[in-house]
Amino acid sequence: MNYNWNWGIFFQTSPDGVHTYLQTLLLGTGWTLLTAIFAWCMALVLGSLVGVARTAPYPWLVRLGDAYVELFRNIPLLVQMFLWYFVLPELLPVEFGDWLKQLPDASFYTAVVSLGFYTSARVAEQVRAGIMSLARGQRFAGLALGLTLPQTYGYVLLPMAYRIILPPLTSEFLNVIKNSAVALTIGLMELTARARAMQEFSFQVFEAFTAATIIYILINMVVTFGMRWLERRTAVPGFIGAAPQPVATH
């Protein structure tokens, strides 16, 4: 392979004149993590609400939850980002749309919102599966004790459900981190975008992508170890460790 490797490139100054290439990659890592964490919080809250709605004893609420999940699952993430970024400001009243377009860091907010909604549909699936995996008697017992329906969810069903679905939630969190790379299409300078920029300016293609790959693997390992620890701490006594289910992801 006649490719000129130059690992010293990371310590050369990037075209912004201030940071070295390595520093630009680390800045990108920061944006990746920031986007992923904000989107994850949003996905957890929305996903839990929708997941609960889909197990509620009201058919119209269940159907509404189903529609929500179908909507956000069946449109590619990239298209969803374009809809939030390019289409939404045009559909709003002119002043508001213009304000949205001129917002500093608009691509960051858009990435968080679109990733958040996209992931919330997947979280909702998991929350629903977790609640459904509990014995029916738990709900009945809660209600029979005089708890209201929200109390039954809050004190009986959800605490158990979350502990059961922690492993699939881990892989969803890893997915959010990886999916944040899609935001480079709307101009977010996250890790993959920085690697791409480094490749364009320095022509050291493989060094740039190798570095990005290693950073992603490191993030992956840290998250996985952290979640393993959390899983051990919160494992429901008496349950066999939840076997990994073959769920299609990407």
Partner: protein, 230 residues
Amino acid sequence: MFSNFDFDVIIRSLPYLFIDGMSFTLLLTAFAASGGIIFGTLLALMRLSGFAPLSLPAAGYVNLMRSVPLVLMIFWFYFLVPYIGQWITGAPRPIQVGAFLSSLVTFTLFEAAYYCEIMRAGIQSIPRGQVAAAQALGMNYAQTMGYIVLPQALRNMLPVLLTQTIILFQDTSLVYVLSITDFLGAASKVAQRDGRLVEMYLFAALVYFVISFVVSRLVRHLQTRVAIIR
């Protein structure tokens, strides 16, 4: 809000969107899914072989592919495939490969990691007694796998494999980052040329939604049909 919604731009660009764009998307999905399932099954067999020189590289490959974003892999292979081509053919300089071949290699190799995990779960769901019975009948490894284990694993996992293929279909939109004219790429080009972002992106979303939704409904229906009654 929809007062100046231009339906005409969609009608005018329909042939371009579907003949140029959608055929690329569907062909890429079909070839990458077939290639990914074959390579993924091989990876799964390697991972389950219990022979470290086979299982460790397969596990490493799968974990590597599953820890990096698809977008990054698309960039990787876009620059790597010419060098691989040079290495295979022994040409003096990196070979220029077309957009289709480059993305086909990317998606096949990337999705194989995901198909591998599905097939691995499928193979592991077959009772051990079946393998023992096949061996007692005098079957060798290839026969045991080919006649006994894999057909059942494939059948058990068919719904999950198809769901993964729907995800692959949606993921192919990411070739946008290489400015390739897939369905979304075509929609995006028309959108930018005519300044009709709202119409084109909404239409693209609608088409992706309808296809994914209908196919996932069919998969759910299939799930009840092919389930092995135990």
